[in-house]
Amino acid sequence: MCLAVPLCVKRIEGVMAEVELSGVLRQVSLMLTPEAKVGDYVLVHTGFAISVIDEQEAQVTLALLKELEEAGRQAEEDSARTDRGPGA
């Protein structure tokens, strides 16, 4: 019950906003997210913004995922080194 896409708010007129994704424009209602500002990314479901994306939280999550990826790569490198033996 859940298709909602992150779109960037470009312009606000009253309760309606023009949002954009890769050059695709759409009119959506901000009735459920009156706090949304131009430049915010909002989750849009059936023509309404249901939530303003928290940029900071997004960065935290990405950093976590990046850390994970790097830890994984490091672990692989380490195990490859031990496989090859010392002096490699």
Partner: protein
């Protein structure tokens, strides 16, 4: 594309998958009785998750150590066929235009579907938003527009918003046939209906954007089941699954917010208030599961003028009045609870097929039974 591509990185995904599989192999420190030999069972509640899991091939890559099962989170699939029959009857009434989301149009009632009704001349329009339906009502003042209100807490506020707008503008030819359902009562309904083999729940991210993650605290508190609220990109889902596997292995049921960029503890207060203004909680009929108390929404008396259940009288002969017989033998409830696999249901493939589905597990293109029917064995 921002906030999408970053959460689809293949290398990170592979990393998460390895971690999940490694962690899932660890013996559990849990005192819950379950069939631990068959892997950790995670129910994804939401149709959107089922779709995303299918799209990215996650089910196959996590099985058998982690088994993803589909819950009743596809609101279209759990719509009772009696309700669909009524909608079809409305669509045939002279002067009535039924507006519906696309997902709904193929779902069968006891005899027919909205798609077939349209082919037979009934006025059925696919809309992307309740606001489109309202616009239809403005453009066609001589016709009565009925918006089919399906969906959970993600969609209900949008329909509520359209009703508030209709009332503010005095649009007299717009009504809603309210079939909205609530997810926490649905989860309770399933978990209460018998033995359950579900170890964890992948929480619906966009429903929770509205309700707030506190709405799921009853899962660890009353059922000892962890819940991780998840977004819909593959890295979001894998991250949530990782958290759940850890919680199960460590015997630490709790609610985790694995979608913090979209979900908060308290949710969207504006949306909740709009829903409060327009709707009240009532019992609802769920396809395959029967009636679940306090699991649906209906319009408040103040909005009676906009209630399609009251506005029209449908001649009795337009209704097919035997919904319950259709579901005799339907085992969706057991399938949803993880107690039965699709091929074990006596109706599977014999009576219940994607073309003629009985319960929600087969109605949804990615429901457990439909998926099994189409894909059978998994890819190695």
């Amino acid at each position: 594309m921002k906030y999408t591509d970053e959460y689809r990185d293949p290398a990170t995904a592979q990393r998460l998958i390895s971690e999940i599989l490694a962690q899932a192999a660890v013996p559990r420190r849990s005192n819950r009785v379950q069939g631990s030999a068959s892997g950790i069972r995670i129910m994804e509640f939401c149709g959107g998750h089922t779709h995303a899991i299918m799209r990215y091939g996650l089910r196959q890559v996590l099985a058998p150590r982690v088994v993803m099962t589909s819950g009743p989170g596809c609101p279209v699939c759990v719509t009772a066929d009696a309700d669909i029959d009524y909608c079809i009857a409305l669509a045939h009434l002279p002067g009535v235009m039924v507006a519906t989301f696309g997902d709904m149009i193929r779902v069968p009632g006891t005899r027919s579907s909205l798609q077939e009704a349209r082919a037979a001349g009934a006025s059925v329009h696919i809309v992307y938003s309740a606001l489109d339906a309202l616009e239809l009502a403005r453009k066609e003042p001589q016709r009565a527009v009925v918006m089919l209100g399906i969906g959970f807490e993600t969609t209900a506020p949008t329909v509520a918003a359209s009703l508030v707008q209709a009332r503010d503008e005095g649009i007299g030819n717009y009504t809603v046939y309210c079939m909205h359902k609530l997810t926490p009562p649905a989860m309770r309904g399933i978990l209460d209906s018998g033995e359950v083999r579900v170890d964890a729940i992948l929480g619906p991210g966009h429903v929770t954007a509205i309700t707030g993650w506190r709405a799921w605290e009853f899962l660890p508190q009353e059922y000892g089941i962890p819940c991780a609220v998840s977004g819909f990109e593959p890295l979001d889902m894998l991250q949530a699954v990782r958290v759940l596997v850890q919680a199960v292995v460590q015997g630490n049921p709790h609610v985790a917010n694995a979608y913090p960029r979209g979900v908060t503890a308290e949710g969207n207060r504006v949306a909740q208030e709009l829903m409060e203004q327009v709707f009240q909680v009532s019992p609802a009929l769920w396809r395959g599961l029967g009636e679940i108390p306090a699991s649906g929404l209906s319009l408040r008396p103040e909005y009676a003028a906009y209630d399609a259940r009251l506005a029209f009288s449908v001649p009795a002969e337009l209704l097919d009045l035997k919904p319950s017989e259709m579901h005799r033998g339907c085992h969706c409830s057991e399938v949803l609870r993880g107690m039965m696999e699709p091929p074990e249901c006596p109706l599977f493939r014999r009576v219940c097929t994607p073309a003629q589905p009985i319960g929600p597990c087969m109605v949804s293109a990615e429901g457990a039974c439909a998926a099994h029917y189409r894909y059978g064995e998994t890819l190695s």
